[in-house]
Symmetry: D2
Subunit: 318 residues, 4 copies
């Protein structure tokens, strides 16, 4: 198996993938080949083209919210499926080529997302340092590692602990993130040929595009979930791209396509909305879904059988 | 075919049955045997026991509302089905054995339901007459017809025009009902072996008992109808009989069991409510149901097929 | 105070009124004058005209359901208010002028409502007796008491224990009602000048006429209650009288007009429905309403104050 | 008046501000002082501190969606109010210091948001060019303008037409955005002391934090809007920042705080949600809100008066 990830090496996505491989049987894990990509979009293209077998991609961050790039790419490809999720705690270090006093740091490079998560620390500890953009936190670390000592003086990078270690940098400060306890959720995506069997502790991910010019259709969508006893664990609006105020919704629901109540909700949504099914997969936290007895499989099956038994009495059209 | 009706002869129920027979092919109509019963309950017992093949019974009056007796009897028998409805205009006459001035009338007999519908007229035209209860309007007319002339003097009956004519009474006043334009709706009920095929202008009658002690369950029932695009044309609460505040609902919806949207709503209701299906049948007014395209059979079928195609990709449980 | 009731004396309504008077201070109770009426309608007219000060009327029976006559009369008068409710257990006796074997009884008279509640007992114990209508159970008892012994032989009345005792009849059988535990709820109605203060265990009675030709308006009404955390304890449909399928709803809700949540729901209903307010009054069972904190008075007041504070910043129209 | 904007000069935000000033009376427009800021956060701090009087900030892009930085800053400050909106068409040019063939371009600098909007064009026209991040499109243009000719050779910037013109760059390609017709919506924010008067064509912006651990609270929020006839024109989820799956919603509704229906919805939301009111202001498109008569001010006022008139009859607590 070849696994793509949002690279370069030592990103949090890389870490999520390593975490996922640990859960595999040892022989499969040993055979895994890890392939970094510069964007989720290029990794997804490689997946669809068959060059790789799966990709790990960030989907949601507890501080920054939905990862637009991943959400939009997933929504745009019909033939791919989420088969697992991983949750990774997000923590940052300030790293330099050589040990140094903070007061000596004049420039700090990092990816804009990482910068956003350490703003307060920077303001309080390095108020006069210039903040420079980099294509990734790992890229910032690597650039520093590869710079001449002279050139590297007074410069630092904000990166993951893994990146600092990997590139042999000196850690000037740890745990500098503004939101202690931040997490990012990653999804493992494959080509669409197999949905993992139901475990009882599952999530299903959808993209739903509401009908245009029908006020109240968001409410109707939520009612369709509610009458089937389906809870949402995430809802994220994403622009359709054609005009202001036109959205689709990226949604996680509690349950599996195999659950009658989930299947029933999907059937209902399909009638009025354009729905993209992105997969049903075990929850990372393993928490089983509590199901109201009137929403259990047995209740749906009994309802079906009752209506079928009635329907057998309908006279044929004359 | 033997048809039972709420007798005696010349009741409005009798008239509804005659009206229904007119719509049958001549040879079937000619063979029909009409059997009066003293109550809907006894007629229904005869139906269930196979002594008769169908019964005509009043279900709803535009002035008085639901006819409790019929509603309760229908709800109590699982093996009977409504196969047609008839609507009969309700108009009353004041009739006497011999032509007479109104001023000479001292006693007026009628069924309490009929009395309720001519109260104003009686107050204005016969303010000092005694109002006597009778077991039916026809019974009041018949009693008058069979009375000795002496005994009949000063007495009148409130009855249908048909009754007055049938029993050879003199009509003292016509159209004496307080609510001009009043109508009663009757249903034709058979043993439960055949539901008439869908015509596109159909009604379905249900009795729904909501789950006890679950506030909001009436709202949930209505939401189940709404998310399936099903309109109610009648809702009537009936006591369960065991305690104050405990109800079931007698409901007519627009549509036929063969409509996917109706079947879907019934399946949904069945999960949390005790539902009695009382039949799907052509509407008396022939008005076709307008259906939102997202609630049409094709939309339901497409939703089913989509979910089925997804479900085929679920890996078998290991 | 003069109190009207649905007579004659010894009806269950009479009993409800006696029950209510017991709860009054002794001096007020002693001064009370009780006036029987032949119908709720005539009693209500007397109330509106100022001839009496209050009336007691049956509104709901656990077996038979809503009492149409009362519901319709209450809905038709804008100037009257329910100020209390009483619940009376309903039990019947079979009574005769003289002690007699059941086998000797050939005729049984009673009001049709009472007959409906002893059907099974009559079928099993007096299958061949003729069932005769009477204008009230008390009337049936009184007629028997006043009949000559000769004339009274073989005849019995179905009436309340109170009636049998009052008219000196012999009780042939007790507790003959089909539904043991049946109850009737009565309301005490006054002219509309004073609503009893909130007790925390209150009910409010309304009549709501939904807008015509707006499918889903029943659902909207229930949503208005729900968003204000208001539970319904009774809902009864009553025909408007002008056409089949046209209804108003007689509704009891848990709570008092003084509750912000009730006032808010009423304001909302008033916008789209014709609402008749029939009163807020203490519940007979004294059970206090459980209120979700977000629906408590304080939450409404805080919301109002917040919006008012915002509104003070609106620039005047130029 | 001093106006802050997300700088540097020539950004789309700058353009939105210029557009807004055109609508002011000439003397006020002439006195306006424009102050660029490096982020919405720093501009907002300056606003709150009184250094500037208003800021223009991007809130929503038809392609990229909500502008998280602005949404989060607005939600975090209670004392600021949106008073106007501006919509700016988004179009990009590829610009270089000197006219040049596309084939000569090896490096392209721009802000990541701009890059995201020209990806396809870059892939098709400059597949082998390196894409470099810049802190803003204007910064990329300025850097190029200030570079030595030698250094600038083979380099280009993606920027607004205004930036290319302002910095005297040569435009190599115009209209290179992937989504023709893209727009960004900007809001003008002031300190919270004056809400513009209602025009009849208004929007109101809110941030709503749903109660934790109450499934269905999003549905309840939408129901609160619906029962008051309030349509949403935008809904955007934003993480609360404390844990995965914890969100607030940034919402635009059609209407003004002065509309009774809007005030009523806000009062309702306030009971169960933490609501931040961010302002009511005229819509950029001037389109008047269509209001269902039952949701008009008059209907709300009539409901209030009715309930008040009833409430005056409540007896004082004894």
């Amino acid at each position: 198996m070849r696994y793509g990830f949002l690279g370069p090496e030592t990103t949090f996505t890389h870490q999520a993938l390593l975490q996922a491989l640990v859960e595999l049987p040892a022989e499969r894990s040993a055979e895994a080949e890890l392939v970094p990509f510069t964007s989720v979009a290029t990794a997804t293209n490689a997946l669809v083209d068959g060059e790789i077998d799966a990709i790990m991609a960030p989907i949601e961050n507890s501080v920054e919210g939905g990862v637009s790039g991943t959400l939009d790419v997933l929504a745009a490809h019909k033939r791919i499926t989420i088969v697992a999720e991983q949750i990774v705690p997000i923590t940052f270090v300030l790293a330099a080529k050589e040990p140094s006093a903070l007061s000596a740091i004049r420039e700090v490079a990092s990816h804009t997302h990482a910068q956003a998560q350490v703003q307060r620390w920077l303001r309080e500890n390095l108020p006069s340092a210039a903040i420079l953009p980099a294509s990734s936190t790992a890229g910032a670390a690597q650039a520093l590692a590869e710079a001449e000592p002279e050139e590297a003086r007074g410069r630092a990078a904000i990166c993951s602990p893994l990146a600092a270690e990997h590139f042999g940098l000196a850690v000037l400060a740890r745990g500098i993130e503004d939101n202690v306890g931040a997490q990012t959720r990653f999804v493992l995506v494959t080509r669409n040929d197999r949905i993992p069997a139901r475990t009882g502790a599952d999530k299903t991910t959808l993209v739903v595009q509401l009908p245009a010019d029908r006020p109240g259709s968001l409410l109707e969508m939520l009612e369709t979930f509610k009458v089937n006893g389906v809870n949402l664990s995430r809802i994220e609006s994403r622009p359709l791209g054609d005009a202001l105020g036109r959205y689709s919704f990226s949604i996680d629901i509690e349950g599996h396509l195999e659950d009658r109540r989930v299947a029933s909700a999907l059937r209902g949504l399909h009638r009025s909305c354009a729905v993209t099914y992105l997969g049903s997969y075990p929850r990372a936290d393993g928490q089983r879904t509590q199901i109201d007895p009137v929403m259990a499989d047995g209740a749906y099956d009994a309802g079906n059988e009752w209506v079928q038994s009635l329907s057998r009495m309908i006279a044929p059209q004359s």
